[in-house]
């Protein structure tokens, strides 16, 4: 494995940790935490895709303009890819909505069943 692939492999390890929590844990709260860990692993993976070694943040300042008023090629060639960052920002917002939904459902579930243990939240079967 080349050294450039290590961060990607590590983000996949984080993803697997999250999936493990979802599959192996019986507590609703721990499952929610598992989903959040998986979510962050995917975000980490995406932001790594846009990374360029030694690149700088893709924020244009006045120094980065060329004479015609456009963004200079020097800036384009040294900054990291901003698209994955925009994507994960959207994905974080979606993750927030899902997290709020999950927590609300968990509260309601605890209200009805009096427990967070999914082995005891089992009315549906067949």
């Amino acid at each position: 494995m080349s050294s450039g692939a290590i961060p990607f492999a590590l983000s996949m390890v984080v993803l697997l940790i999250g999936l493990y929590a979802i599959i192996a844990k019986a507590n609703v709260v721990k499952i929610i935490i598992g989903i959040l860990i998986t979510d962050y692993a995917v975000n980490l993976f995406l932001v790594l895709l846009g990374y360029r070694h030694g690149g700088r943040a893709p924020i244009v300042t006045k120094a980065d303009l060329d004479t015609s008023g456009g963004v200079s090629m020097g800036f384009v060639n040294t900054s990291v890819d901003p698209v994955p960052q925009a994507l994960i920002l959207t994905s974080i917002v979606i993750g927030l909505a899902v997290a709020a939904m999950m927590v609300a459902l968990a509260l309601r579930l605890h209200d009805k069943y009096g427990t967070f243990d999914i082995t005891r939240i089992r009315r549906l079967k067949g």
Binding site: I59, G69, A100, A104, L107, H110, D111, K112
Partner: protein, 161 residues
């Protein structure tokens, strides 16, 4: 930290309350700046909205749910949330009326009326960002209030999400 009952309406100590009184306005101002300058600096509607929601959350934590509930409730937050979402869509529809959905109607492509890195340099993106900032701020506040006000052991009848 709480000399009184932890779940009561009295909130936290005088130290926290005084600090909150002083810093809340600045936090909100900071959030507003992040929202308004979203098109020229890092940040924007979402980041600024979260900061504004955090300021409200600070008030609720410091002064307690009952006192804060007099000024803002889950319903108010929800109404503002929907209004802001509608406003965001309205910006898009205004562009649609001008020719293309989400067209930047304040800034035709050939216009040189704006200088870069100033507040008024991105046309209708400023309006969109403001709407998103309000949407996120009020939405998060609504979620926070809904989760903090939620009382376990069913007290209400058939409810909804």
């Amino acid at each position: 930290m709480t000399p009184h009952s932890p779940r009561g309406g009295s909130g936290m100590t005088i130290i926290v309350k005084s600090t909150t009184r002083i810093v809340t306005a600045f936090i909100m101002l900071f959030g507003t700046t992040i929202v308004l300058y979203g098109h020229v600096t890092p940040g924007g509607g979402f980041a600024g909205g979260v900061i504004i929601a955090a300021a409200f959350a600070l008030i609720v934590l410091a002064f307690g749910k009952t006192l804060a509930g007099r000024f803002v409730t889950g319903t108010t937050a929800s109404v503002w949330d929907s209004a802001a979402a509608t406003a965001f869509l309205f910006v898009g529809v205004l562009g649609y009326l001008g020719g293309c959905f989400f067209w930047n109607f304040l800034r035709p492509p050939q216009s040189g009326r704006f200088t870069l890195f100033k507040l008024y340099s991105a046309g209708s993106i400023l309006l969109s960002n403001t709407a998103i900032g309000m949407k996120v701020g009020m939405g998060l506040l609504g979620v926070f209030l809904a989760l903090s006000v939620f009382r376990p052991r069913r007290e209400e009848g058939e409810g909804h999400e």
